[in-house]
Symmetry: C2
Subunit: 139 residues, 2 copies
Amino acid sequence: MAEIRTARTNVRANVRRVPGPCSHWDDLDADFIREVLDLVGDKWSVLIIGTLADGPTRYSELADAIPGISQRMLTLTLKQLRRTGLVDRTAYAEVPPRVEYSLTELGGSLLSTVLALAAWSADHHGEIRRHQAAFDAEG
Amino acid sequence: MAEIRTARTNVRANVRRVPGPCSHWDDLDADFIREVLDLVGDKWSVLIIGTLADGPTRYSELADAIPGISQRMLTLTLKQLRRTGLVDRTAYAEVPPRVEYSLTELGGSLLSTVLALAAWSADHHGEIRRHQAAFDAEG
DNA sequence: CAGTATCCTCATTGATACTG
DNA sequence: CAGTATCAATGAGGATACTG
């Protein structure tokens, strides 16, 4: 995984061979990438982050905005996102209770990056669908 | 979900109104992004893609290069990546058999995008660790 | 060497019920 | 309203054994 190790300097440098053993990342870094990848690959995280991009949102609004999510997973994922520092929670001392979640600056920057991935998806949607169809037609 | 949602048809958006109808994506695209996200978030996909970035690699070399992966998951993930068109398989009619896997151009372009995410991880590693520590110290 | 085929387990998730 | 607690089911993934 040469390129991933050197990604800090070679982000744009595309693939293929890596001349020398000039790694800037150690194994701990590699593990960390996995953590972020797990977070992004999580079933609900990106949906929540994407919803929060519209501005501060209440717990129940999130539940409504993200069809199919259970209270359990909403709570759990929000906790995870807060722990990572991507999301802020603000509770207002009112009756009835009001709690708003919002993206932190860090969360916003991750969203930007994820949107790049989304753009890639959009760009190659057709190509991938064709590959899948061809592959399924005959291995 | 300002950027990701914003559909012309609001199937997924029983949500509140979408502020500005200046979207480039529809709901099918949103679903497709999830597919790509799942792929990237997969436990082994990115590791395999990263390894293949060094050049064509044999099945057994992949198994050695990616500690902890089982034959089953290596085979399964490779199949998935081939189906998506990210990876090519070339079998040489020799004895003993030789099979090489390589990144397609599409796979290379995804790697570039994922590396951007890796760069983000590297950039914000410290900040996230601090958040996590603070969060764990006291909810 | 490069896979398949089976079995099995453990973790993630969803459903349901309850509470400050 | 905004959660927490508990339990059950699904399925991803590992271990092992076998094969073209």
